[in-house]
């Protein structure tokens, strides 16, 4: 009887070891798969995008303002689209930061728990609205408002696109900023109040700086979403391919170009490769946004090093 228990215990332990190994292997495979997919995407972008530069020089590609993919010979210059993306993203960022961070401060520091527990899930729900729906709302409502407000011929312009993108970025900014503010230790708040600081002073001088890394990350994710968003800008940005710096003019951001043309491009043709090159440019742009965010966070960490 005793032997039996000892054996079964040893058996059980052996089983445990096997299970640990299996789980470890499973998780390792998942990790490898994710990295492999990421590398695969980058490799594909490079393979399909780089041939574009055999016809157009890198310089001409990025600074050229003429995009005639089906002329003979075709011209591929994406400067116009690049500027459109920047203008639309900057507008979205300018609107989303105060709105998003402000809401987060309200929810984390001022709102009663009951309000916070109701409103936050609602805002997060907003993040799940499909971009096509945002596009429709933009078309039906915001274009009209913008057209009337600025007395334009058409409300399909960079500003409208920027506004819609801001609404799509805000939920991300609010949600992550609020998380960051909520994790600021209550000891900091107490210390501030005990020194005779007001609530507002405590929020601005203690809570927000302490949560700054999280808030920065939130903003960067919001910007990332704005840069990459396609459907909404395709619908409301206006789609003009003339070079414009004014947000009140119709625009065509980089994502919209790819979405509009990829189905008509001959696979393996010059236009096809050029569109992939735009994808590559987008990838590099978001990479730099993330890189910049990392730098900000790193400096922050060094400043507050423990």
């Amino acid at each position: 009887m005793q032997d039996h228990t000892i054996i079964s215990k040893a058996h059980y332990r052996a089983g445990l070891r096997v299970r640990e190994k299996v789980i470890e292997l499973f998780i390792l495979c998942n990790g490898i798969l994710v990295v492999a997919v990421l590398i695969g995407i980058l490799v594909m972008l490079l393979i399909e995008g780089i041939p574009a530069f055999s016809q157009t020089s890198v310089w001409d590609f990025f600074t050229g303002t003429k995009w005639y993919p089906v002329s003979n010979p075709p011209t591929f210059g994406i400067f116009t689209f690049f500027i459109s993306t920047i203008v639309v993203t900057v507008i979205a960022t300018i609107l989303a930061i105060p709105l998003g961070v402000g809401s987060a401060i309200y929810l984390a520091e001022i709102a009663k728990p009951k309000i916070r527990e109701t409103v936050k899930p609602l805002i997060e729900l907003l993040a799940g609205i499909p971009s096509i729906v945002m596009g429709v709302i933009g078309l039906a409502l915001v274009t009209t408002v913008v057209r009337e407000a600025f007395n334009l011929n058409t409300g399909l312009c960079g500003l409208t696109a920027g506004i819609m993108l801001a609404f799509m970025s805000v939920p991300i900014v609010v949600s992550i900023s609020e998380d960051a503010l909520s994790t600021v230790p209550k000891e900091f708040r107490e210390a501030s109040y005990a020194l005779g600081a007001t609530k507002w002073q405590t929020i601005i001088h203690v809570c927000v700086p302490a949560a700054l890394s999280g808030i920065t990350a939130a903003i960067m994710l919001g910007i990332g979403r704005a840069i990459g968003e396609t459907m909404t800008v395709l619908m409301v940005a206006g789609g003009a391919i003339a070079l414009n710096f004014s947000p009140l003019e119709p625009m065509r951001p980089m994502t919209a170009v790819i979405a509009a043309e990829i189905n008509n491009a001959v696979r393996g043709g010059a236009q096809y490769h050029a569109l992939f090159a735009i994808g590559l440019a987008l990838f590099i742009l978001t990479f730099f946004v993330n890189f910049a965010a990392d730098q900000v966070l790193e400096r922050q960490r060094r400043k507050f090093a423990r």
Partner: protein, 265 residues
């Protein structure tokens, strides 16, 4: 050396509590506390865990206001001002009654900015800050250790240094009273001794109220002691109050005697 002689030397009352009851929701945390805090003395509040010592301490700068559901009855006065009166500006009260917490909690900013924080919030001019910071750090016996690295993070200091930084930070707003909530419980014995020496130095200019779990600390450092006890319904009551040497040598109450001699608690 008798550090406790000042207790009887002056009898001006700096703060006082009169028939104070505190409730958290329906639970009573403190019952009928009446107590005087003499000016420029160290008053130690001792007693077992959960008897409401910290709750009592936090009445004096109204930190309990931050707790939802907390309700205070009775009077607490700073000099002649009833601090729970509707007309009292809590921000102003907290400038006069500073606080040092159990766990050292410097802000995640530079040593300089930590000390300058309070004065800055009151709108003190920028060019006055270096002097205030230097004086406060000197008062907190930290200046010599940090004068060459004022722009390093306050969090880079050791635990004992951090706590002295927090004391300097509290001193920078020139309070009249300093509340200390178990200020040494997270520190090693050497750092603890430094803080205790500092308290004896500070009491020449400030009124100090300290909550402590450490009986030896209360005996070493305080002039007056108040012994709290938790009643069966979990409400804290004041059992005994008097000059520290007297309470530690001839406690009047059996519970005090049992507690300070280490028989229970």
């Amino acid at each position: 050396m008798n550090v406790n002689s000042t207790a009887t030397a002056n009898n001006k009352i700096k703060m006082c509590a009169r028939s104070v009851n505190v409730f958290y929701g329906t639970m009573q945390a403190l019952r009928d506390i009446t107590l005087d805090i003499p000016d420029r003395t160290i008053t130690a509040i001792i007693g077992p865990s959960g008897c409401g010592k910290s709750t009592f301490l936090r009445l004096f700068n109204r930190m309990n206001d931050l707790i939802i559901n907390a309700r205070v009855e009775g009077d607490i006065k700073l000099d002649d001002m009833a601090i729970y009166a509707g007309s009292v500006d809590v921000v102003d009260l907290r400038r006069r009654v500073g606080m040092v917490f159990q766990k050292p909690n410097p802000f995640p900013m530079s040593i300089f900015d930590n000390v300058a924080y309070g004065p800055q919030r009151q709108g003190v001019q920028k060019n006055e800050l270096p002097d205030i910071v230097e004086n406060s750090l000197k008062q907190a016996a930290l200046w010599d250790e940090v004068k060459d690295k004022l722009h390093q993070s306050g969090l880079s200091l050791s635990g004992g240094q951090q706590q002295r930084l927090c004391i300097a930070r509290a001193l920078a707003v020139e309070p009249e009273v300093i509340l200390m909530d178990e200020p040494c419980s997270a520190l090693d014995p050497i750092a603890t001794l430094k803080i205790e020496d500092l308290m004896r130095e500070l009491v020449k200019d400030y009124t100090i109220i300290i909550v402590t779990h450490n009986m030896q600390q209360a005996a070493r450092v305080s002039d007056v002691s108040a012994f709290f006890w938790m009643e069966p319904d979990r409400a804290g009551v004041l059992v005994e109050y008097g000059p520290t040497p007297q309470m530690f040598s001839r406690p009047k109450d059996k519970r005090t005697e049992g507690y300070i001699t280490g028989r229970f608690g």
